[in-house]
Structures are given as structure tokens and as C-alpha cells.
Amino acid sequence: MRLSSSPRKRPASEALVAGGVVVVLLAIVAAVFLSGQGATLYPPNPVTEQGHDIKRLYDITFAIAVAIFIAVEGLIVWSIVRYRRRPGDDELPPQTHGNNLVEVIWTLIPTVIVLYLFAISWQSLNTVDALSSDPDIRVHAVAGQFIWTFEYLDQAGNVVATQQAPAYGAGGPDCPTPAMTNPACGGMAVPVDRSVQVTLDSPDVIHAFYVPRFLFKRDVVPGQTNRFEFTVDAAEAGQVFGGQCAELCGTGHRTMLFSVVALSGSDYDTWLAALVERANATPPPPPSGATTLQLTAKDIAFDKRELSVPANASFVIDFVNADPAGVAHDVDIRQSDGKTVVVDQQTADGGKQSQYTYEGLPAGTYTFICSIHPVPAMTGTLTVQ
């Protein structure tokens, strides 16, 4: 068989068709970017100083990525449309085995591009990962299955107040309607425009602190204290940002939500003062004469699985959480289906005691349960008679 010396001449319209197909594809890509849906290809607007840096890096990477994507996909599609085999193509096309010059070119150009990307990402990393020696606010975040505890530290590193709660405004007896400055409404409050250094610890498995609007996450590794720093933009005062555990940590992984509540400097000071006051307040004494039950939690299990109290009389559970710090429990009461909440109590951190007071209940069978760990070992039957 004879080898043709050059590709068979195609009618000019062939190249036009091929080019046209590529142009249509380009138009579709451009339409996506320019329409509202294009915004979904970008991360959400960042709200921290560090987040803006990450966003800038994302934008540069994205621009280069789109350029490469269009160039290469276009070349692939164009080649296939333009050089498809037609009836009568019996002669072989030119048997090109390679070309050292173009090989060198397409090795060098990508090398330059990735080295540039590496350089700017390293530069960005140095600001994103920077830690100051004297941050304005220090928070020690403890992620245990399946709840976040935020300990506010003074400059000496002592705990002044603890906020242990699920996501902002997630309900609870003290927070019927969310109010930013109400510490009982959950979430980790931080002041805007001040640097916040967070240290991360875990008493059990690996978790990850992730706030999408920060464009940032950091693993919470047991046995290793990680730290990072952020400063929320001044314009964000009064906003609440959702956060969530991002490293699979067990059955309750998805429930490990938290919020970051951005407050103006003065609101934050008020909030923290209220939190400290609440921490120092002595709990109201239990009603005299009420039935008092003992209950201990250890190794994610209640020591008793059956409790019984008289009907329509308030009672008290003296609860001891004998698990390590960071492993929080509570004793909620639910209907016997195990789902419908009857009484919701605040959590008690590991190593702490809590005296839970319950209003009188009508006679019947209920479930008492740790809402953080709704496993069989932390679910029991409460008989009210």
C-alpha cells in the first residue's frame, strides 16, 4: 500500500464544520460562566482575611484551568471532526512518529505553569497558615463524638468560659428564639476585625473544623494539637456562618454541626461576659423532696438502662459524666418511640457532674437518651407510674 505524502485535501467546509463545532462548545462553556449558574463554579464569598487570600488563589487557578480545558478539549473535538475517516480514505495518513521540538515545548510550558502555580500557592500558604504570637482571642475547640466544645481562654491560656452546644439557634430550653448575643443559642461567637487563634483537640477520633465561608478546614487529631488563625471581616458583624465536621467520625458525623457567630467588638464583649457569668452562676437548688436518681455515663454507656419515677412529680437526675473531657453527654427524655423530644437538657462535658431537674410527667413509658450518642448503650427506659 502506498503512503500518501500529505493528508488528502478536504473541502474547506470540512475545517469550517470542525471549527464550528468547537465554537459551539466554547459558546456553551461561556454561557455557563456568564449565566447565574457560573457562580456555582466559584467558592462562596469568603468572610475572613485568610479566606480572601484563598479565593484569589482559586481565581487564578480557575482561570488557568478554564484556558487549558478549552484549548485541549477544543483540539480533541476539532481533530475528531476534522480528521474522521471517510469512504475512499484507503491510503494511510502520514505516519508521524513524533517531533522532538513540540515534545520539548509541551513539556516546558506546563512546567512553567505549574511552577508558577506552586509559587503563588506557597506565597498564599504563608499568609493563610501564619500564626501570631499574641492573637486577640484564643479559643480552644474540642471536637468529640459528636459535639463541639469551644473554650474561651484568657491570654494566659486559662479557660474563662465554655460554650458547648450544637449549631446556632438549634433550639433548647434557653433559646426559644435565636438572639445573637444570647450565649445559650449555641455557636462559637467571635468578634470581627480581631485575630482569633483556635487550637484543636479531640478526645476520641479524628474530626475536622470546617467553615465553608472561611474557605478553610483543619483536622482535629487526637494526640496532636493543631492551631490556625483567622480574622473575620469587619463588614460581617451580625452574620452567622455554618460549620460542620468534615472528617468521617462515626454514625453521628453529619450531626456534628456548629456555627460561627460574628459579633461586633462590643457585642462580643457583652456576650462573653454573659457566658462567664452563666458559667459561674450556681445552679438553682432542686425542689426539695423531689425523687433523686443517680446516673453515670462511662465509655459511651449509661450505668443504668432502667429508671422509674412517680408520675406528675418533678424529679432530679444526678448525672456524672465519667468520660474524658470533650466527650459530652446529656440525659434527654423522649417518647417511647425514641424520637419525639419531651425534655431537652444541656450537655455535660466529660469529667463534669450535672444536676438535671425535670418537671413532672404523666404516667407512661418514656425513653431517656443521650442526644449526642443515641446508641443502644446510651438509651434507657424511664417508667413513670
Binding site: F118, S121, D204, R218
Partner: protein, 546 residues
Amino acid sequence: MATHALAPAAVTYRPGLYAWLTTTDHKKIGIMYLINSFLFFLIGGLFALAVRAELAVPGLQVFTNENVYNESFSIHATVMIFLFIIPILAGLGNYTVPLMIGAPDMAFPRINALSFWMLPLGGILLLSGFLAGGAAAAGWTSYPPLSSIGPLASPGAGQDLWIVSLVLIGTSSILGGINFLVTIFKMRAPGMTLFRMPIMVWTMLVTSVLVVMATPVITSALVMLFIDRNLGGHFYDPFAGGNAVLYQNIFWFYSHPAVYVMVLPAMGVISEVLPVFSRKPLFGYKAFIFATAAIGALGFSVWAHHMFTTGAVFLPFFSLITFLIAVPTGVKMFNWVFTLFRGQISLSTPLIFAVGFLTMFLIGGINGAFSAAVPVDFALHDTYWVVAHLHYVLFGGSVFGLFAGIYYWFPKMTGRLLSEGFGKVHFVLMFIGFNLTFFPMHMLGLAGMPRRIADYASGAGWNDWNLAASIGGFLIGVSMLPFLWNIFVSLRTGRIAGDDPWEGNTLEWATTSPPPPYNFDRLPEIRSERPVFDARHGLIGHAAKD
């Protein structure tokens, strides 16, 4: 000398099922690899569909027990990686490598059979976790302490079965890798020098080096996990002097090269398909080989890019190497595109799937670069972006390449051609379904949806993309029907293929379809990487380069 060198040659001819169960013929073993792995693909796919069904809309619908949800995605990934992609590509290599180098069989045929039979055993062990009180539920990565013993960790036998199963499958891989390497180094036909080997053989060579050097490392990580769980060890126990991140380092030292184990053979497949259907040689044959070797070598020094957010790795180094690995990958991409360029392209099913590989793997490469930029990875790590990225590499890359290979070599394996019509329906459904499933996951990840959650709030803004992804997932499931029907029909009534239906380049097309035991009655002269092309056309086009 060996007394059995003169043993009679008749013992291998046994009829029927018994012949398959006892065979040491690399072609039969290769086909069994394909069938077995494809069955696990369907099983893994069902788990994926269950997960997608759960995530289609907010609220818990499919899984009342969330632990079963965690089991589902853990077993989905484990099955797809260890029982589908790695073995099915090894199976394709098992079938083709001895044929392509003109060898009668693998170097160690019995060990080859052993390697295969460990796979169904490993798979059954893995799935038996569901009958033993719950399968592994700590993700396919199974990071301790979550995968250790503990009230809320992984107390059941499922996690132990997972470990044992993976060690077994790993051993199968190692033995297979050794077998490939000895076969490639020692069994080549006269004239088949290393730089005349088909690219498929080269990619299997590099893959096998990765398997032999990396798989034992994960075995060590797994046995230490087993010791921690069952023998009171403290390797990964941070509360008794161990280190939880140690596991991640050892695990990813294997599992990153494993990505190349999963994708290099698919690259080999399309490097065979593209030249044949463009009627041109692969552009830059040697550059391609060096790029493959470079990917293999760099692949050992990027493992920690899976751990950027742990706060326990040296970020700039791993970021740099991860970026650099894009260069040889880019070289390959350009080589493929320039193979198409100025060719005469037949739009047959194998080529269409190979082009599917090119277009989708390109996305998987580009979106990987985002995660190499460490600060961007802080935003994207462990979100659905990563799920999108890995599926564009492993599904858009490996699985499309795999189907290119199946459509390409099916006539060689069976003697019959698959239907082009069903093949194209299969491609269109799978291509649309794939992009509908995985492209929206980029948006979900950017919007902050973490991986491995059973449910999400309705107000999180993730509803539309999740529904799209779930519809796409079921479309992928549907796309398997025309494929299976195609196989079923073509085995009976497909057009007779003849020895060389595609005008192939490599030695497997010089023998009958299917090839006889021990493959060749005679071999064409081997003077380039395209011996069958040379036999057809003469040595044209070589003067310019060689």
C-alpha cells in the same frame, strides 16, 4: 535438566466448567478476572445507587440506620477500588500482555491462577461483614482511631474482615505484579526489544513496579491496624503513645501510587486504541514511556497531598511534587491528541470510549491541580469536590479506558464483534450519566457539602445538584443494560471477527480469534512497536524517525 520438559502436552485439554476452574491459561484467567471484577462492579454500583438514592433529597429515606449508610459508601469504595478497577485492569493486562509480547503464557501460570482465585475469596470475606453484624463503616480509608476498637469506633467483625480481605487482595496483586514483571522481562519474543513493546505492556510494567513496591506497604499498615484492634497493640492509639496520623502516612504511601495502578493500564489501553483507529503510530512513543515512568516515580513522593489538612506534613514539598506530576501527565495528553491530529479517525466504539477517556480524564487532571494548591485544598479537602475529582480520574479515566479495551479486545477474546449500535447507546448513556452525576459534585463541594454525610439540611442550598447527581447515577446504572445485552447477544449472533477486525498494530492480531492455547503458531517479524502493521504495510514511515 528438568525431567518434565518432555512431558506430554495433552493434559490441558479438559472440557467445560472444570477446564475454567482449573485453567492456568492466561487468556482464560484474564477473562475470569474480567467477569469476576465486573460482577463486583455491579455490586459496588448498587451500593453507590443506594447512597445516591439517600442523598437525592434532604431527609433520611433509604437508610433508617445511619451506620448502614456508612457501611454502604465504605464498601462501595472498597469494592470499586480493590475488587473492580485494580483487578479488572490487571485482568485486561493478563489477557493481552503475553499476546502482545509474543509469549505463550505468563511466566508463572499457576501463580497466575492463584492470584485470580484470591480475589473472589477476598470479595466474599469483605461482603460477609454484612452477615457478621455489620461491614466496615469507617470509609475505604478506615482511619484510626475510628477504625480501631471503641464504643463509637468500629467494634464489629466487619472491620477485621475488611483488613483480612484487603491483605488477601493485596497479596494477589503483588503476586500478579511479580508475574507481569518476570513475563515482560523474560518472555518476550525474538526481536521484541523493550522499546518495541506496545504501550499497554509498558504501562503494565510500570503498574507492576508500583504494585510490587507499594502494596506491601499498605499490608504493613493493615496488619498494624489488625494488631491494634485484636492483639492490644498501640501503633495508632494516640492515648497510649501511638500516632493516629502514622496510619495515614503509610496508607497513602500505598494509596497514592494505587491511583496510578488504577489509571496507567487504562492509559495503556487507549494508547493502543487511538493509533489503530487513527491509522497512525502513537505520537512520541518514547516520550510517552518516559512520561509513564516519571509518573510512577513521582507517584511515590506525593502521598501527603491527601493529608494537607492534618497539620502534620511538610506542605510545600508535597505541593511542589504534586504540581510537577501534572507535567508528564500533560505530555501524555498531548501525545494522544497529536495521535488523532491528521489521522484518519474511525468513529468505532473503542475509539469513542477512548475519546471519552481523553475528554473526561482531562477534567480529572485539571481539577486535581486545585487540590495541589494547598490553601485551595484547605477549602476543598473532604468535600464533594474531591469526590468529583476522584471519579473524573477513576471513572472518567479508568472506566472509560476499560470499556475502550473491552470493546477493542472482545473480538479477540470471543471471535465475535460487539454490536456498534448498542455500543454507542451504551457510550452516550454512560457519558451523559457520568457527567450529570459527577460534575455537579464540584459545585456541591465548593458550596461546602462534606463527604460521607447521610443527610443535609434542606436550606443548605445543595438540593438541586444532589438531585441531578442522583438522576445521573441511575442513568449510569441504566447504561449498563445495553452493554450487558450487547455482550449477551453478540456472544451468540455477533458478526464473526476474523483474526484482525480493526487492522491492529500489535501481535495479538497476528493470531486467531480467540487465540489457541499458547497463543501463536508463528510470529511475524518484529522490527518496530507495530509488527502487525509492518506485516501489512511494510516498514513505512520509520526512516524519518528511527
